[in-house]
């Protein structure tokens, strides 16, 4: 049978890939901010916990994490669907790298800014949300963009825990038609196109964040 008949299957897989990637990016960003802020502001105990989180998810391979949670969660009585497991592990992985980005950006805010905030009697929360974060977010955007692309690419690994994403669809179609060259070429082009779209979206968000900065340009040194 001609492989073109299977294109709808590939399209469906691409939708699954996109859903998983977007969900993982959104949850991952939340985790990144949570643990990144804890690293900087958390005090001795909480910042160590955040450090453990980032080291574990950055230091062990995503491949191992996926399979580990896939087999481990049912043992503790949590039977999540493979898709949920895939999204959560992908998000935790991205969150680990993201937390490091947030930490780096927060600690690169100049000390004069923090001193000025203290001189003006800002509380720690106010300093964080009104002084540090607005400036740090702009610095984070390029690195977050790379991380988002990385997450899209790594999402192909969820096909190995039986989620029917784009890679899984490609594998199935290849097994039926044995037409490897066309199927994998199309799949690669699909991923490339999705990356380009994702990059364009990130550009838009980046300009939005830059413009939405609460500080007028001249006030930043």
């Amino acid at each position: 049978m001609n492989w073109t008949a299977y294109l709808p299957m590939l399209w469906h897989g691409a939708m699954v890939t996109m859903t998983i990637t977007l969900a993982a990016i959104v949850i991952g960003a939340a985790l990144a901010f949570f643990f990144g802020i804890l690293r900087v502001e958390g005090g001795p105990i909480l910042s160590r916990i955040a450090l453990c989180y980032t080291e574990v998810f950055r230091g062990t391979s995503l491949f191992v994490q996926l399979f580990w949670f896939y087999y481990a969660l049912p043992l503790v009585g949590l039977s999540l669907s493979p898709t949920t497991t895939g999204i959560l592990v992908l998000a935790a992985h991205a969150g680990g790298y993201g937390a490091e980005i947030v930490r780096g950006a927060l600690s690169s805010v100049s000390t004069q800014q923090l001193e000025a905030a203290r001189a003006l009697n800002f509380s720690r929360i106010q300093t964080l949300f009104r002084i540090s974060l607005p400036q740090a977010v702009v610095e984070m955007m390029p690195a977050f963009g790379n991380l988002a692309i990385e997450t899209l690419k790594l999402s192909s690994l969820v096909s190995l825990i039986s989620i029917a994403d784009l890679t899984f669809a490609a594998q199935s179609i290849r097994n039926i038609t044995l037409n490897s060259a066309s199927i994998y070429s199309i799949t690669l082009v699909c991923y490339f196109a999705m990356s380009l779209v994702l990059m364009a979206v990130i550009r838009v968000i980046e300009t939005f964040v830059r413009r939405g900065n609460v500080f007028p340009r001249g006030a930043q040194f």
Partner: protein
């Protein structure tokens, strides 16, 4: 039973110690794959970076497109592509080499950007001085530019090596028996996945921490002025 080692699943401790030799055999494969892949990435990345700087627009554009494509598509699919499509063209490689090639290709795209950044960071006066001394383009790169680039790029290259080590488990999907593949096989036979997977995870964590510490020391030991190639 694998590689002559019998596993003992009575407790997690006996299980761990009994499968450790098997996993360590896998570790050597993991490290070999990462070493081979990284060697390919270092060489091919430099080729990409130099082609990208070519004065012929077609060559530099085509290279840019290839690099961008390799960077923005998943390693897993690239690996499947090489593994299933190369034999159609009569190129039949062992799974290990296919895997190393896939790792090398993807990371060549990353390293080419590192080389490019490093080369562009060399002050323009160095190029002018090389021209004044009547050096050929080849001599300029070999004796002037690249030696100064090396200390700048070592930290980033090291980070990519660590990242690559963590991506080698992907090779297990094309039947390369590295750590993760072996752990999964042990799990399939004993129905106890967690111990082997945790063990592999811990070994990766240890590898990452050791490599990062080693890189940090290497970075301090490197001469800032540059390293002559001959």
């Amino acid at each position: 039973m694998m590689y002559g080692y019998e596993w003992d699943t009575t407790t997690w401790l006996t299980y761990t110690t009994s499968i450790l030799p098997i996993i360590l055999i896998g570790l050597t494969v993991t490290l070999k794959a990462a070493a081979a892949g990284f060697a390919i990435a270092l060489v091919l990345g430099l080729v990409f970076a130099l082609l990208r700087r070519s004065r012929v627009t077609v060559i530099s554009w085509a290279t840019a497109l290839v690099v961008e494509f390799l960077r923005d598509t998943p390693l897993l699919v690239q690996l499947f592509f090489l593994y299933y499509v190369l034999p159609d063209f009569g190129i039949v490689l062992p799974a290990f080499l296919t895997g190393a090639l896939a790792l090398g290709l993807q990371y060549a795209a990353y390293t080419s950007e590192v080389y490019r950044g490093g080369i562009e960071a060399v002050p323009y006066g160095q190029w002018e001085a090389a021209t004044a001394l009547n050096l050929t383009r080849m001599q300029t790169y070999r004796d002037v530019i690249i030696p100064q680039t090396i200390p700048r790029i070592v930290p980033t290259m090291g980070n990519y090596l660590v990242a690559m080590i963590k991506e080698t488990p992907v090779l297990s999907v094309v039947t390369v028996l590295e750590m993760m593949g072996l752990a999964n096989m042990i799990g399939e036979r004993t129905f106890e996945y967690l111990v082997p997977l945790t063990l592999v995870g811990l070994i990766f964590l240890l590898l990452t921490l050791v490599c990062s510490a080693g890189l940090h020391r290497l970075q301090k030991a490197l001469p800032k002025a540059g390293i002559p190639l001959r």
